[in-house]
Amino acid sequence: MFEADTNLHEFDRRMVWTGFRQLVPLALFVTLFGAAFGLAAVQAGLDDSIIIAMSTLVFAGASQFATLELWGPQVPLFTLVITVFAINARHLLMGATLYPWLRQLPPGKRYAVMLVASDANWAMSLQAFNRGKPGIGLLLGGGIALWSFWVVGTWLGVQFGGAIQEPRQLGLDMVMGCFLLAMVVGGEKNLRTLAIWSVAACASLLAYRYLPENTHVVVGALAGGGAGLFWAEKTNER
């Protein structure tokens, strides 16, 4: 699966543009999600410029929505940091999974492309690498698409949010979930992967019920990784 010592990490302007275009259809949905955030943030009492700044600089929807729950005349700093960290801790794992390819880039580029890493472009990028195709263009180009549409969507929500009163009623909260599931279903499937996924799912559910909020992703992913250690692949690599 890992062909890390090849030139799959290489990318140029054309590949970034291709990655951008590949993520635009999904980014259109992200725009709506961004609009929903913009509206929710206005309703939570944030200034317009702060809302736009948050989407531009943070670029992590789930944690931004969670922050709105904490927002008031005063915001507890420690709680804010823990909440944002816990929800975004999955980025740590994303960076780690891409490392076999990222490490072949000079450090400057390596960290620059990670600036726009988020769920969808990470998943696409990793899938490309695992299929023996270059993936950094997808990560960077796709990330730029998601980021710019997220910011534009937020702005639209701040300006004309009234158009989407209840994003849930339109199913918009399901955009990322459905996309990520499509990636899972479209990925490699065999007995070993299914076993690993079962471990991950069970651990995640247990953490969801019994551990502090927002820890389930990290717990489930680490459990799945552990399962992969115990069940070695029969045929090594392709």
Partner: protein, 107 residues
Amino acid sequence: MSVETTGLGALILVLVMAGVTLATRWGGVYVMSFVPLGARVRRFISAMSGSVLVALLAPLALEGDLGARLALLATAAVMLMVKKPLPAIAVGILVAALVRQLGNGAV
């Protein structure tokens, strides 16, 4: 310690959020640069990569509302049939919207 959300306070909060999030985007890559990439480590992160998605989805699939669960089911079904993500996502969102609209009508 709390931060006032008036004036500069709100901007400071946003910068703190941005800093924490950036640390998560960079941290995994940074830590891995100290870990020798042996066969075991590769196996671990390879197994972890799919598990991130599954761990993210599991509570949504089992503890979500009917709309969320049927949306995921529809997405999986369409994805298995046509093997293209976009139609699968579109159907999933449509199902979530329909179920929730109907649910509201019924109540």
